[in-house]
């Protein structure tokens, strides 16, 4: 804990992220404009503090600030949900492979290797093509390719934990494999998994943003930062702020997650000191 607090960049990032999350969740309720309400008198208004649209409006008169916050909700939600599922999958996969060892381990890890070889974005696109652009399907598609790092890490840790005495003791007492995995191995991995989760989130948000930017992710009427950036890129010559604000929010959020992850890793890794 101490070490983490000493890392100013990480602490700043954490504060920033909490701020952003709060803003995205609560903000839209506090602001006067709804994210999809069109204001015909204020089309393509540049940002300014003088009028009520602080960050300007788009070509349909929708307030950019609100849309950024609402988009943030979606982006963050996708990020967190996908991370949770891919971590869960990765932990189960890795712990099982590491604990059972032998041929099972070999096969499971071979599958991981093959997954790495596949260009994930393409498969995600393929999945979206076939299954459609439902929010949960997007989560599923991205999860399918984000679990491997966690699986590898967890497997490694499991392999070393397996040899430790308390696991031997449990086995000697006849505790079932599943119970050992769940009760002994998994809790010891939590610290590392937390770090990995923080690192996975930005990657996932980025993937969703790319998909949305290409027009293959989140669908109207929902919006996300990726969608906003896509829209903003179309209006570049007449309303550049439509690109800049969502891009800024996205970049800063990704940056913060990275610093946070680094800080956590430094703080939790005993070897690093």
């Amino acid at each position: 804990m101490q070490r983490f607090r000493r890392n100013k960049a990480a602490v700043t990032s954490l504060v920033f992220l909490i701020l952003v999350t709060l803003l995205c969740v609560i903000g839209p309720w506090l602001l006067t404009h709804a994210y999809d309400s069109t204001d015909w008198d204020a089309l393509k208004l540049p940002p300014s503090l003088t009028h009520s649209h602080w960050w300007g409006t788009d070509e349909s008169g929708r307030d950019l600030l609100v849309r950024c916050l609402v988009g943030g909700r979606i982006s963050l939600m996708v990020g967190i949900l996908t991370t949770l599922t891919s971590i869960a999958l990765g932990v189960i996969w890795g712990a099982t492979a590491g604990y059972l060892g032998g041929a099972v381990d070999q096969v499971m890890m071979r599958i991981v290797d093959i997954m790495y070889a596949v260009p994930y974005l393409l498969i995600a696109i393929l999945l979206v093509t076939v299954l459609g652009r439902d929010f949960y399907l997007v989560v599923l598609a991205i999860t399918a390719f984000s679990w491997m790092d966690t699986a590898r890490l967890v497997r490694g840790q499991t392999l070393s934990l397996r040899k430790m005495e308390f696991v031997e003791a449990a086995r000697a007492m006849g505790v079932s494999t599943l119970r050992i995995v769940v009760e002994h191995i998994v809790p010891n991995l939590m610290g590392l998994v937390l770090v990995y989760a923080t690192v996975t989130v930005p990657g996932v948000i980025l993937t969703e943003s790319v998909l949305s930017f290409l027009g293959l992710g989140i669908q109207e009427p929902m919006t996300s930062w990726g969608v906003l950036i896509h829209d903003g890129a179309q209006m570049l010559d007449s309303a550049p702020w439509l690109l800049i604000f969502p891009a800024l929010m996205l970049s800063l959020t990704l940056y913060s997650f990275n610093y946070l992850g680094d800080g956590l890793r430094d703080a939790l890794d005993p070897k690093d000191r």
């Binding site: 974005l121 498969i123 790319v210 890129a233 940056y255």
Partner: protein, 306 residues
């Protein structure tokens, strides 16, 4: 060396088969998938699908026939446009992507390695800080943000270059897309090259080389360069994979008629067979690139040819 090549080749085949198999199964068994019998498809296309994909055969035969067809270089037909085969569509799009992608990779390798080496040899100089800053930029700003920013600066602001489009490989339309791709890759490559070279230059065998009284240029080119390049070579594999993402984004931003746009539009149109064919093609290319990278690595590092 030859034995190693052969062994590596052998191990890529199962990977490819599994990948294609999985994709195939996904498409053909997913509810609401393209070959679901409830789908209503125009006559002409239905006939083509039937003959091309042998939909009247049992699943395993379909799969094998599909593989056989792939081996003959036939990527299938479009689901939406009766007149077009995937091969034809690829034929017109592939050269465009290759031109831009190839140029970008070549440039980024040369510039990246050069910058990284200079930063390592002249630490804490201007070059060094520049490379570090570039590295940070590349990891913070996503390609689909950087791209429009470049357009904003050079096409809209300075009006030096067109903001997109394509005209038979004429250079003005290539500058921005190639620059974007190069910028993204250079940041990673330079950072890795720098770290690698710093480590090599601090190693014991470089100390021996200095102790032998060898001139600096000899030490850098004969003794330090090869070991320093190894991590760079290793990263080319993953870089190639991420280049696909970058290519998709770049072609979208600049409206380049390459493979990327083909995939994106195919997906938007729900042109299943086209996307299937393209995914298979690109996966095969990626596997090939990874194989080449492994071979180059083995060539460079005598220790790995166990």
């Amino acid at each position: 060396m030859f034995a190693y090549t052969f062994r590596r080749l052998l191990s890529t085949i199962p990977t490819l088969l599994v990948v294609i198999g999985v994709i195939y199964i996904l498409l053909f068994s997913a509810p609401g998938g393209p070959f679901d019998s409830e789908r209503v498809v125009p006559e002409a296309i239905q006939a083509q699908l039937m003959s091309k994909y042998h939909l009247d055969q049992p699943y395993w035969k379909q799969y094998l026939l599909y593989i056989w067809q792939l081996l003959q270089g036939d990527l299938g037909v479009s689901y939406r446009y009766a007149d077009w085969s995937v091969n034809e569509l690829v034929g017109s799009a592939l050269p465009v992507s290759l031109a831009i992608g190839g140029l970008a990779i070549a440039l980024s390798l040369v510039i990246g390695v050069l910058l990284g080496a200079l930063a390592a040899l002249y630490r804490n100089s201007f070059v060094d800080y520049f490379v570090m800053a570039l590295g940070s930029l590349g990891s913070v700003v996503p390609s689909f943000v950087l791209g429009p920013l470049l357009v904003l600066a050079f096409a809209i602001g300075l009006k030096w270059l067109p903001s997109g489009g394509w005209d038979h490989f004429s250079w003005q339309f290539m500058v921005l897309p190639v620059s974007l791709l190069t910028l993204i890759n250079v940041s990673t490559l330079a950072r890795i090259m720098r770290a690698s070279m710093v480590e090599v230059m601090g190693s014991n065998y470089i100390r021996t080389a200095r102790a032998k009284g060898l001139p600096m240029h000899l030490i850098v080119f004969r003794h330090a360069l090869r070991p320093s390049l190894l991590p760079v070579v290793t990263i080319v594999g993953p870089l190639a994979v991420s280049s696909i993402t970058s290519a998709l984004v770049t072609e979208s931003i600049f409206s380049i008629p390459g493979l990327g746009i083909l995939v994106v539009n195919g997906a938007a149109n729900r042109d299943y067979t086209l996307v299937l064919g393209l995914v298979v093609l690109i996966t095969a290319l990626v596997v090939l690139v990874n194989l080449c990278v492994d071979l180059i690595y083995a060539f460079l590092d005598p220790r790995s040819r166990a």
